[in-house]
């Protein structure tokens, strides 16, 4: 019996596969005919005319057909064989690693290999300097070589530890990924400086580090509302906007410093959270989602139309930059660099901003983590699990929901004022519904309620789309007219769909209960409810 099964599984029905592929080709032809087959262009008299793109249409259809054939001839049999092998393995009792263990192991291997690879590439790029040093030893060159060697060693070491640790334990991965991530974040600017030099580091710290951390912060804030309290909020970006505009307007009008306005922006955003939260407390489920969406849009529309205060579409520019406790980051004699006797460089401000947002992120994560253990945090999660049971146990659901809204809004407001000071310019365009959708998808992709998940999802989605800007080498393949950044959001959209199909419960599929009876257990994410409030 077991001898026949693999044969049956691996037999491929060619006729059927080709028939299906033909159907897929027909479907693709129908789908792509209007929008790919024709292009609307303006002619010289500014009239709209059509141009045909038959070769492109043919390519699309051929691609779909080939992918379909590949799927039914190669992938499906392979998956069937694998499923069979897994069933057989389950029949014989063994120490099969858990799901998280397998994922963790693969992730760690991938990251470890990647880091080792970067280390080796870095070493290779410094090779000429090392050869120079051997030829003519000098103190300056010696320092460079030492730094290069140290960095290479460090990277390979980290990569190796990652691989070892990945193949090591399953449960350990869940516990250590948080501290390991924080450790990496703390040393990230140093790594970037050593790896990319003073000029290149700005891009890495600013576009990747700070950008991702802002979204991590927003994700953590929204996680309180959606992940813990189970209230679906589609207008979270409103609080982000409130924070940003509070900072911009107060700083420009009254000249208050960033450090005074940061808590103030948080408080203002919290007030707005309560104000918007209060009327919608009676609403449940999708209705709540829609009203929050409406509020988000209203705030954006007011920002656009209230020109005397917000300057409308044009936005607010010249927002004061943060200072190092009163010392500005500029090239003057009173500047940060001059005070410390360093040469002026814009990198200092970027690094400072990086540590500010890192501090804010860690604060958010820490506060949330501690609050989860307090009665209010447990009430949030109880509310998510069952509101009626909650009420019958005497929990004040109004206050519980309002605190969740207010706290989530506070963190959104803090992130907003940081955003304003980092950009120096804000306009309503930064606070569209798409931002809310982006933040929500970070929370859901990470696995609702999981803080590590929010971090991973933010890196994957924001870092991933940022990374597409770096793919200049694709121009060599597709011709110089090819612009990868054009496809950023296209890829982002499809990634959202694919990840949801692959893992509807999010990337981190396990949860740690905040209240335990006897011993601490990690439970599957599918046991956690999502709330209807």
């Amino acid at each position: 019996m077991s001898a026949e099964a693999p044969a049956a599984a691996s037999r491929v029905d060619f006729a059927r596969a080709f028939k299906d592929a033909a159907v897929a080709a027909l479907l693709a032809f129908g789908l792509f005919l209007p929008l790919i087959g024709f292009e609307t262009v303006q002619n010289i008299r500014n009239e709209l005319v059509l141009e045909t793109r038959w070769p492109l249409l043919f390519n699309f259809v051929a691609l779909v057909t080939a992918a379909h054939l590949f799927g039914s001839l190669v992938v499906t049999p392979w998956r069937e064989r694998r499923a069979l092998a897994r069933r057989r393995a389950e029949a014989t009792p063994s120490q099969a690693p858990s799901w998280l263990g397998r994922l963790g192991r693969r992730l760690c291997y991938a990251i470890g290999l990647g880091v080792c690879f970067i280390g080796v590439v870095n070493f290779g790029s410094d090779l000429t300097e090392i050869i120079d040093f051997i030829g003519a030893p000098s103190a300056g060159a010696g320092f460079t070589v030492l730094a290069a060697l140290l960095l290479t060693g460090f990277l390979i070491g980290v990569g190796y530890v990652f691989m070892r640790f990945g193949s090591g334990g399953a449960a350990a991965a869940g516990h250590l990924i948080g501290p390991a991530g924080v450790g990496f974040l703390v040393v990230f600017p140093v790594v970037a400086l050593l790896g990319a030099g003073w000029g290149g580091a700005v891009k890495w710290i600013d576009n990747f580090g700070i950008q991702i951390l802002i979204y991590v912060m927003l994700g953590l804030g929204l996680n309180i509302v959606v992940g813990l309290a189970g209230l679906l909020d589609l207008g979270y970006v409103a609080f982000y906007a409130v924070g940003a505009y509070s900072y911009a307007l107060l700083a420009k009008t009254f000249g208050f410093s960033f450090w005074i306005l940061l808590p103030l922006a948080g408080i203002l955003a919290a007030l707005w959270g309560v104000m918007l939260g209060f009327p919608v407390l009676r609403l449940r489920g999708d209705y709540l989602a829609i009203v929050t969406l409406a509020f988000g849009e209203i705030i954006r529309l007011v920002l656009i139309n209230w020109v005397p205060v917000t300057n409308g579409y044009a936005g607010i520019g010249g927002i004061p930059r943060p200072t190092f406790f009163g010392i500005p980051f500029n090239a003057s004699d009173q500047g940060f660099a001059a005070m410390l006797g360093l040469e002026f460089s814009p990198v200092y401000r970027i690094i400072f901003l990086y540590y500010v947002i890192l501090g804010l992120v860690l604060l958010t994560a820490y506060v949330t983590m501690r609050l989860r253990r307090l009665p209010i945090g447990r009430a949030w999660e109880a509310l998510r699990e069952d509101e009626i049971a909650c009420r019958s146990l005497g929990i004040n659901t109004t206050n519980t929901k309002l605190t969740a809204f207010a706290l989530g809004a506070t963190f959104g407001g803090l992130a907003g004022s940081f955003f304003a000071t980092r950009q120096g310019f804000i306009s309503p365009e930064s606070f569209s519904f798409m931002e809310s959708a982006l933040i929500l998808s970070i929370v859901v992709l990470g696995g609702m309620g999981s803080q590590v998940g929010v971090g991973i999802a933010a890196i994957a989605m924001i870092g991933g789309t940022e990374f597409l800007r770096e793919l200049d080498f694709l121009k060599a393949i597709f011709g110089s007219a090819f612009d990868p950044t054009q496809y950023r959001m296209l890829i982002f959209g499809s990634a959202l769909v694919l990840i949801m199909i692959w893992k509807p419960r999010g990337l981190i599929a396990t949860r740690e209960p905040s209240a335990v009876f006897k011993e601490k257990k990690i439970i599957s994410g599918s046991l956690v409810k999502e709330g209807r409030g």
């Binding site: 059509l50 009676r282 489920g285 009203v291 998808s441 296209l490």
Partner: protein
């Protein structure tokens, strides 16, 4: 008085476009309980398909009669848009059926971003404007100072909307397909036990929603004469607002909600300020939901322990 009648006419025109889109939202929500965020973008795609079909007919095939061309555009648009929406349902939503509530929502948001950017990349980011397809108007009342006009294209929009709504109502209320749909809305498991192909019924729901959205897209193109890749979001959100206002899940509610939103928007623009017309629409949505959470025609949501 003249202003009032004129705005009434304009509001009903706009409202019928919103109503047609709103039906797609409300039907999908009724049957699988999911907010199909990509529906606004399907509407935008349909407007593009209509534009391209119109250009193919007039410039490539040389169809002279504009009415005949529009009729063919309508049918072609419905077929292709249905195909698009069927594919979306099949690939982005069906694998997530029975999964937890937020998964299809995120998938729909992803699909919405995808469609918008696909059209942007495939057709370019610029506004696409067509020459006016139908000219001419009746003067109903009023003198030289403020003539109240009813243009031919507005009449066309009203007639087509009314005819399609009648056909759609017939399908839902009288045919076995409509019966299957209503059964799935009430209890999918029971409907399946009674021999209804639930998957097929849901697919058909998406197809009908897309066909109506495609009519709305064509009407939008005729009415405004311009479309761009970003035009899906705002009409989509407003149509969704309309669906909620009318009571989500209720088909007549969607039409009433659409008309109301269209009227509110035009009257607000006429009497107060154009700047805040969208704020008015959203505020009314919020106020309705807070005081009448089930909408105008919706069933109250009773929660059982």
């Amino acid at each position: 008085m003249e202003v009032f009648v004129q705005q009434l006419i304009n509001g009903i025109t706009l409202g019928s476009i919103y109503g047609l889109i709103a039906i797609g939202y409300t039907m999908v929500f009724g049957i699988i309980g999911m907010v199909n965020f990509a529906h606004g973008d399907v509407f935008m795609v349909s407007a593009f398909i209509a534009l391209i079909a119109f250009l193919v007919l007039t410039s490539f095939l040389g169809v002279g009669s504009i009415l005949l061309a529009l009729l063919i555009v309508l049918v072609v648009g419905m077929v292709f848009t249905s195909l698009v929406n069927w594919t979306i349902e099949r690939f982005a939503y069906r694998p997530l059926r029975g999964s937890f509530r937020l998964a299809p929502l995120i998938s729909a948001i992803g699909m919405s971003i995808f469609l918008m950017n696909f059209v942007q990349v495939a057709q370019g980011p610029r506004n696409k404007s067509t020459p006016p397809m139908i000219d001419g108007e009746f003067v109903l009342m009023g003198g030289e100072a403020y003539p109240v006009t009813l243009s031919y294209k507005q009449i066309l929009i009203w007639v087509v909307t009314a005819a399609l709504l009648a056909a759609f109502w017939y399908v839902v209320a009288k045919t076995s397909l409509g019966r299957a749909q209503r059964a799935c809305e009430q209890d999918q498991k029971m409907a399946a036990l009674l021999g209804i192909d639930v998957d097929r019924t849901i697919s058909v729901t998406f197809i009908i929603g897309a066909a109506l959205a495609s009519v709305a897209g064509t009407m939008y193109l005729i009415h405004y004469g311009v479309v761009s890749f970003a035009d899906g979001f705002l009409p989509g959100v407003k149509a969704f607002t309309a669906a909620v206002l009318g009571g989500i899940g209720s088909l007549p509610g969607a039409v009433i909600g659409g008309l109301l939103i269209g009227l509110i928007e035009t009257f607000w623009s006429a009497y107060f300020s154009t700047d805040y017309k969208d704020v008015a629409a959203f505020s009314i949505l919020a106020i309705t939901l807070i005081f009448l959470p089930q909408g105008i025609l919706g069933r109250p949501d009773v929660e059982k322990v």
